[in-house]
Symmetry: C2
Subunit: 413 residues, 2 copies
């Protein structure tokens, strides 16, 4: 049931800054903008490129935990605040943990296919720096089965992925695996430094691979991952317009300035069941395979990929899930530079969750914005060269530990 009954495009992407440690203007004790600010800045950013709120038929907002980080729900109610022409029009909020942004994209795609909308404003947002990291970890544990939380690490999700890394190390060797993780980190930071909205934009440390090689310290953090293996705690929002062909005409955007959605996989796993194999991201594998099959392409047609690297190990495992390397070969594939910006298959070219930042509910939308920028030549200093024979991009967004996954394939418009 993944046939696209009509053409769907994305255009007019916008990112706020990803704010948090690593960013010059971030100070943990000084007042910061609230969630309202991010929704408004990002919504206005997209609307200003497509003729304002009068051109919007529906809106979707992706968010994970405003209920706890900001004590705020009823998020659709913030949409009409962006532009008075959005008053009275349909708005919906979607949630699927760190996969909320991907679900927002899918909701927008469905609205266009349903012909209830020709132009959908799609926003992802999260504002997480409202609490200290250790309390934030408890909040984010709501992406897993909370009943299991007490059995887990104080840093719940780092603990989950540390267990995955530990199983990988044991099976395939600690030293060579660590080199893959360190290179993933280096790529992420190098890419982020080319993107002015990235959280790591101002970071100046030189020997990134040495940092990435740091020995994990299980007494202060988790057993198998160091802090450089982790995505960031971020405040931010991203937005993009999802439109039909008629919608493109209405907003006066040419196809060359848009990307076309040509396939997807949206897959859900049981949050109450532990992963069958810690060294495999099987839901990501399923979603990516469905996405590629529905688009009628293979990984050889992909010019660039944005994948959900909440931890470096998730990046390595996604490389294997996609089939770029066999099980156990992902670390070497990355260590050899194949996923770097000038590599065989450039991944996370504006820094991903580790380099750009991870405002959880926004991340899935941010991935689509990066693909739009790269495929339409708008990525500025972060622009990569895309082989004209590989005009496709892929995003993989994950909520929880391989539970809620959305993979989307895009083509230059």
């Amino acid at each position: 049931m993944k046939k696209l009954r009509k053409k769907v495009y994305m255009t007019a992407g916008f990112n706020t800054v990803s704010l948090g440690t690593g960013r010059k203007e971030f100070h943990p004790k000084k007042p910061r903008p609230g969630i309202e600010h991010y929704i408004k800045e990002s919504g206005e950013g997209t609307l200003s490129k497509i003729g304002g709120g009068k051109n919007i038929d529906e809106s979707v907002i992706g968010n994970f935990m405003a209920a706890r980080f900001n004590k705020q729900a009823n998020l659709p109610g913030f949409i009409p605040m962006i532009d008075k022409d959005l008053h009275g029009k349909p708005a919906t909020s979607v949630e699927g943990a760190c996969g909320s942004g991907g679900l927002a994209l899918m909701a927008g795609i469905r609205s266009v296919l349903a012909e209830t909308a020709d132009v959908v404003l799609t926003i992802g947002v999260e504002v997480q720096n409202t609490v200290k990291a250790i309390y934030g970890a408890d909040i984010l544990a709501g992406a897993g089965w909370y009943q299991e939380r007490k059995k887990g690490h104080a840093y719940f999700f780092p603990g989950q992925f540390s267990d995955r890394a530990g199983a990988y190390f044991e099976k395939y060797g600690r030293e060579k695996s660590r080199k893959g993780l360190a290179r993933w980190f280096r790529n992420a930071i190098e890419n982020a430094r080319l993107c002015p909205t990235a959280q790591e934009f101002h970071n100046k440390v030189e020997d990134l691979e040495a940092l990435g090689m740091s020995e994990p310290n299980g007494r202060t953090f988790v057993d198998n991952l160091n802090v450089f293996d982790c995505s960031k705690v971020s405040d931010g929002a991203s937005s993009i317009a999802i439109v039909s062909e008629e919608g493109l005409e209405k907003i006066g955007i040419e196809k060359k300035d848009a990307i076309e959605v040509v396939g997807w996989g949206q897959c859900e796993a049981d949050i109450t069941a532990p992963p069958e194999d810690l060294t495999t991201l099987s839901t990501i594998k399923m979603a990516a395979e469905e996405a590629l099959a529905s688009a009628g392409i293979t990984i050889d047609d992909l010019g660039t990929i944005e994948t959900h690297d909440c931890f470096t190990i998730a990046g390595i495992l996604a490389v294997e899930a996609l089939g770029f390397a066999k099980p156990g070969g992902g670390a070497d594939f990355v260590a050899e530079g194949n996923t770097a910006r000038d590599g065989k298959i450039p991944m996370n070219t504006t820094g991903g969750l580790i380099g750009w930042g991870h405002p959880t509910g926004a991340t899935g939308v941010h991935q689509a914005v990066t693909i739009w920028e790269q495929l339409t030549g708008r990525a500025g200093d972060a622009q990569i060269n895309i082989d004209p024979k590989k005009p496709y991009g892929l995003t993989i967004n994950m909520g929880g530990d391989d539970v809620t996954v959305v993979a989307i394939v895009y083509k230059r418009g």
Copy 2:
């Protein structure tokens, strides 16, 4: 943009018990089922009528505040727990405060129109008795703009609607208005006593209208509403299948056992802007008018209505918003018995939010289940006689104070 590009039906509704005070088996200090239980019971209830999970293409779950009541998010992850045949299929959670259930219905409708699904499992759920009512009131305040919360009453939403009632009393007279509120309460409880899943099913008090006339006590609660004017604190879930014509065939259900979706209005107001007129529910008015217009009918074609009576005054104001009475005439219209089960336009025939219960994220779905039961003759002791010349039903579901509204028009299949 509300034309239905293909036919959409609902069938196989199911409600769990609405658990909370008023229910015999409820004991505030004894352990109770968690949110997982409600999702599973309700999902299985619908699946058992339509051939199981193998017939489902997509799922949607509506929930407001599991993040705070249960510290749980990533709710789509609980869908595959219902039935192993749901593993790997798309699932999405939607949020719009107490309007979350209505948003879930709209998401399911869009999936069918988009042809990404022929059969959508749609669930609404909330489990609220995890905290004491006064802390629950703080959690529920997240349905409003939380920044304004400190200016409001400790019981935030009762305070908001008390202000609406106060404005109504001042404009149209306290005594005659109070009679309308008391009759709304009496109808709600009388209807609930006919429905075995209702929270008020076991309540035996006789003189309901006298209770409803109780003088509000601003020292212990709010100024203009008594506790009988309020909906309940409830744990519960409701579910329904949303299907195409092809889907009906696939699940072996005849049209006479389904209801057809023939129109809707989904409207969003700015949560940061105070209501222009406390005595008018203008977003409800807009959504209901759009719903009726898109269905091509008037209020005279409606055989029954489920409307969002989070407080009795919201019921009265909805009567006026729909045009059954002029501004100020709603209280009399209700007091005269016009909205009772044998009245001119029966409303909330299984008790509504005040009598059946208000598991917030489930309520919108519960309303659709009641309309399905009534229009297909499945309401048991609560069954009303519907004039064959009025084969339409309407649901109005509201999130926050007139902020997120979904109104849907249904027709006997």
